[in-house]
Symmetry: C2
Subunit: 287 residues, 2 copies
């Protein structure tokens, strides 16, 4: 039997090319108790079958990735995006109910970047708030927490206009904490001079919906989206961040989510084993 | 005669491969009234000659780039870095005195990244504050403003542990605003949800020592340091940022500083002309 930390969850993106059946098997085989899923592999098999497979795996479900992309102006594309988010909410609720006890009905939201040709960052952020307002009642009905993920500011123009934990908490503040929370992802926020106080605030406000860990190092990958590393391979101080999250009261699963071409090219079992060992070395001692 | 805006300054990094004589000539020939210099080309000819050349050019001097790299731990390397900053302060004072009226004795400071092997971001930031304390009296004697430049968070690990304008202002707050100020550079801070309020604060606190403009667009260059573009070529809203800087009371020169391999490879006169026209189109209307 493996020595995987009981709170470790492998986010499926870490083994991006694995289908759902493979991802569940690799995760369980590594002795990991929890998994974060992505919509595409779930929808490849269909929600009902995915839910049964998750039940059969015995794993917990730590998050569903991902909804969002809320920055489009009014029009049919925005309507379609919100409808798609409603489907993601239903998926999240279904999967969380099907998975082992202790699962989290958390839908991770990536805000979206500036619409093509736009320079109106403030307007884009207002549309994110509006979209949360449009989806919150539906999420509440389904018992799902919408987890706004601040992304590193280098993604502000093309991926997420929400760039800091403080900003995510400001956006969430109009809503019930059970319905709108935030993701604390070390890669995205480690640099923030306010990170420790904002993690504490997130705890006080009951908004930490997910804690994700991976490392930062330079030079960045040519595609900066793929610059995420195993905990311990870079410069992030997992001690102070993890302690802050613990002190903020977060007691859920902790995902390792790695976007990295080299990791994606490695055998799944090797990746799972490295995920387990890097978590054990760099994160677990601070829990 | 050119139609260059009277407040436009070309930062020498925009024509990186030009020596000092060439940079002064290209700038003056483009009808630009002001230049920001870099230490290396100044020291190539020696400070005294550089000062005479600057006087002869008739240009104003808008900043000296750059000092800083303050995050080293105690030891001979740190002592050497502080000594080098004192030389940069003397250079700044000398050049500002030699240049046309309206020049600024402003030394731009880049904080430095994490020391090799370190994960102690908070400690590195404390050493920046200590270095400012060590240099401030010397800067004051020489009538030089130390301008802390927050750099984009994607440079936090390897270049500058100061990542937001708010953080730069917090660092500066222990010092006389004539001695320690901050650089407002659109490229580095455009994404910050607090950017407008922090620019206003910088104005209230008398800390805007320099305003630098260049644009952001994705995908980023493979070397992310070289991702800077002419104003108008990317997604930054120069209207709101420039108006905020004007309303904050900044009345000095405005530098265009471009790190970009394509721009560096172009003929200097073409680069100067594009700098003039892009400034006229994207920045000047908001002054």
């Amino acid at each position: 039997m493996s020595t995987a930390h009981p709170r470790l969850s492998i986010n499926q993106a870490t083994i991006k090319h694995a289908d759902l059946a493979t991802a569940l098997q690799v995760t369980a085989d590594a002795g990991v108790q929890s998994i974060g899923l992505w919509r595409e592999p779930v929808n490849e098999v269909g929600l009902d079958l995915a839910a049964r497979m998750l039940t059969d795996s015995g794993l917990r479900f730590s998050s569903h990735c991902r909804g969002g992309f809320f920055t489009l102006p009014e029009g049919p594309e925005r309507v379609a995006a919100l409808d798609d988010n409603r489907r993601a909410i239903v998926e999240t609720a279904t999967l969380a109910a099907a998975a082992a006890p202790g699962s989290a009905a958390v839908l991770v939201l990536v805000a979206g970047g500036l619409p093509e040709g736009s320079r109106d960052l403030i307007g884009a952020r207002e549309r994110v708030r509006d979209a949360l307002g449009a989806l919150a009642p539906f999420a509440q009905e389904h018992g799902v927490t919408l987890a706004v993920e601040p992304l590193h500011p280098m993604y502000a123009s093309d991926r997420a206009v929400v760039s800091t934990l403080g900003q995510a908490l400001d956006l969430a503040s109009a809503f019930d904490p059970a319905v709108v929370g935030a993701v604390v992802d070390t890669f995205h926020i480690w640099w923030d001079p306010q990170v420790l106080e904002q993690i504490a605030r997130a705890g006080r406000e009951g908004r930490i919906a997910s804690y994700q860990v991976c490392d930062w190092k330079t030079p960045l990958a040519e595609d900066v989206l793929l610059s995420r590393h195993y905990p311990g391979d870079g410069v992030i101080d997992f001690a102070s961040l993890t302690r802050a999250v613990v002190e903020a009261g977060y007691a859920g699963d902790i995902e390792v989510e790695l976007f990295n071409a080299d990791i994606w090219a490695a055998p799944y079992a090797d990746v799972a084993a490295r995920t387990v060992s890097s978590f054990a070395e760099s994160v677990a001692p601070h829990l």
